[in-house]
Symmetry: D2
Amino acid sequence: MKTTSADATINTQPRAPEPAKTGTGTRVIDLGDSVTIGGLRVAIMAGPCAIETVDQLQAVADSVKKTGASILRGGVYKMRTAPQSFQGLGEKAFKMAADICRKTGLKFVTEAVDEQSLDLVDQHADMIQIGTRNMHNSALLKRAGKCKKPVLLKRGFSATIEEFLLAADYILQGGNTRVILCERGIRTFNTYSRYTLDLNLVPALRERTPLPVMVDVSHGTGKRTMVPPMALAAIACGADGVMMEVHHAPDEALSDGAQSLAIEDFETLVPRMRSVAEAIGRTL
Amino acid sequence: MKTTSADATINTQPRAPEPAKTGTGTRVIDLGDSVTIGGLRVAIMAGPCAIETVDQLQAVADSVKKTGASILRGGVYKMRTAPQSFQGLGEKAFKMAADICRKTGLKFVTEAVDEQSLDLVDQHADMIQIGTRNMHNSALLKRAGKCKKPVLLKRGFSATIEEFLLAADYILQGGNTRVILCERGIRTFNTYSRYTLDLNLVPALRERTPLPVMVDVSHGTGKRTMVPPMALAAIACGADGVMMEVHHAPDEALSDGAQSLAIEDFETLVPRMRSVAEAIGRTL
Amino acid sequence: MKTTSADATINTQPRAPEPAKTGTGTRVIDLGDSVTIGGLRVAIMAGPCAIETVDQLQAVADSVKKTGASILRGGVYKMRTAPQSFQGLGEKAFKMAADICRKTGLKFVTEAVDEQSLDLVDQHADMIQIGTRNMHNSALLKRAGKCKKPVLLKRGFSATIEEFLLAADYILQGGNTRVILCERGIRTFNTYSRYTLDLNLVPALRERTPLPVMVDVSHGTGKRTMVPPMALAAIACGADGVMMEVHHAPDEALSDGAQSLAIEDFETLVPRMRSVAEAIGRTL
Amino acid sequence: MKTTSADATINTQPRAPEPAKTGTGTRVIDLGDSVTIGGLRVAIMAGPCAIETVDQLQAVADSVKKTGASILRGGVYKMRTAPQSFQGLGEKAFKMAADICRKTGLKFVTEAVDEQSLDLVDQHADMIQIGTRNMHNSALLKRAGKCKKPVLLKRGFSATIEEFLLAADYILQGGNTRVILCERGIRTFNTYSRYTLDLNLVPALRERTPLPVMVDVSHGTGKRTMVPPMALAAIACGADGVMMEVHHAPDEALSDGAQSLAIEDFETLVPRMRSVAEAIGRTL
């Protein structure tokens, strides 16, 4: 695919040997209250896969706040492969998240799974997530282009880089220029990890678009023990942000417990992410 | 994986949230003269894809030495997909490498492409590389198990982690316990990169084997501009070493020029690799 | 796969060496006027990728009718990767198709690309197609479970067999039991074909579900010259139907011309498909 | 890769809609005694994965002979992923096979796993098989180019079509023009089958080379129940031969029992393969 809109692409740089400076030159997405994605500061989005209870969300939010991270994630609606799996608390979770974010000053991102939920997420959250299973859903992408909140677009788990940029184009052409791209693992022959985290994509996107690039290290590995090393790697190769699942009791999580960090592991990890960020000339 | 020798595997650790310490606990492979792979110090192997001339090899060796890296790589024999491609200088390249290593104090690693060349590499080099296309060649692996030099075993580009560990077992069971595993990219649907670098494998191998783990960031990306960020990422996620192609005139290289770093880019990169290594508690 | 509804799965048969009889035992989907999918008769669905003009659709419909095939396909709405690509004629194409089907006695299948078009397709077509990019769209699948027309569900191009059957479950659990599964090619490292046609899936689905199984040999190959041999192969391995794109002037098609058969090639192919169907004990 | 030797490639035909005639135009490989591969007659190669006992081999050979198939396969040397797996009987199996072939008039094909066994297979068998794990082993391919027996070259399980043709070139350039190409399944994200059988490759190779093309439906599926339908599909899409594993007691086989047909299932299958061959204008 040769043609993408001017908005989503920039000229390819034949030599760009300075990933430490990748924070500069990208579009900065401002979520308000000094929370940004795309500048020198690496953003951290952490929280439970699905919002289950107030206590659960509060425990994680306190940890996110304490470590200096800025964005709380948590599923209100869940897009599940099997119809009998837990599909999320729905609207009442918005109020839980709003209360907690008001108290802590965190920003809130959650996934819109269809057109109805998109409008509600646009209304109640600070950033709209479009999930991997909807990256090819052009009807939803077009509608996200009319939303007022920034959109965190996850890569389809078998999408090429061209398809990913064209999906972003659907949103950008609708007038919403605040799009963040998120690598989250691709499907390969590997079975030792849930998906194969394609970190090559980070510098490759950097050469092709000014949009900020994040990495979801929880889905990209599927295993708790692989989350910390890959979070450090994501920062080292130039990601503008890292997303991960954190749960106060991972082994009891209603979804994705195997890939969720315990709170104490998250609190050990963040300072180490900060060290790597500083080693390449960024902050966290 | 059902059965691998005790030598190649250790019990899986359910929680290992401290990749900064991955250097400890792995087997240390000693190449002599204080050059080791597998300890706290991250090893760098750099050099041309194929040895072409004395001047070429000398220029790269000087740079490797100057930056503080310790191992020179360079193809003596080349295993090429097409019969008409350049197949390497053969034996006379051994003398070039030996002369240069004597002067600089560097160690030399090169690939054995068949049984005949294996014996010669074992005799003339400091470490034997078994390439991705031979990872499934059990006859060659068995013979490598009888060699006296350490073996750098590259992952087959579609090998599972179990197949990779079993290939190592072929060598270990022959009595050669000095094996280093090297991720070098896998074949996926991606075409924007030559291969998809599977960095998840680094922590996954760490949980399964005490053998040191390296990453070849040149083949794993196939593009010069992606080498520096991925070299930093490889160190951040716990690799014990990084291998990369460096050429004094990449655009004139007889093979793999597109993925070779220019010497000046290599010299800019190494201090940044050192910063990341130090950020996670290692040296370089 | 751990849990799917009883409706979608049957016990695995350890030995089923008689694919010639695969027509028996599957659920027969009746489209009316003696047009069925799932019995001994192999169904053929042919037509243009997108409906462009009345003349185009009429020319293909005449050919489909003349060869003895029974179902006309043609895109009313197109789900395109790029926002600037042709997105289909929309509602006015329904009338074209309805007029032609009334005259010829053919049945009409077309794709629903979102919730709005789903309701219109359910109203105007004889069968609803859910495309590969929507196989993971559970909101759309649930709504299709409430439709009155049969659903042709295409496999997501990277969906596992378990995910495919679970997607069917979303429809079946809504009460719509008339679901046809369609293999259409998966994404692999191959680039010589557009997708890799996974014909193994035909017998594998046969062991797991009574739902009829079709094969889209146009998307599954992406190349006109590969369509005839793969259409024969699909029948030989037990498919209950074959879908293919046919155009009166493939090189001028607004989409997917490279994989569309010319009408004369289609008319040469159908008798050969009939011979293979008869060789395995079926009709066409 | 653009350049392959004239020997391995012919000009691409833009339209080749007559797979029933694929038997014509390909190079005919003559094994002697009227046994050929590449003409109108579809060849069947059947036998155990590994030769275990005289009785085992005799039972299968009798069945192969009785059904009208012409080539007996059976592993003398086995290339196994794990060092502790059964590695074949070695040389004494040659005598078993020779005795049985003399009595039955069958031809014998077996795999060469390294340079030593290559010379022995060239001496004792009627056709040399180079396995999937050696397709990239250029040293072995070069040596096979000097052998006097025809070579059955299996596709590497992640080899592109270009790499496959270039591997054949290594043999052809050595002077051995009797090469048969064999698709045997590729590695994809699928886990329901052992490999994904890439039948698209059959017509794709037909457009690119005059070399005969076979399909190994045992490795290409990995499951006994999928072997019969895929054998029929392989013939339908134009394969010049089909290879499959047959065992007198599959559940007791020392290797690959899960994908081996029982003798009675093989005897049921062959007449059905004959029907499909005749439906497309070939014989068996």
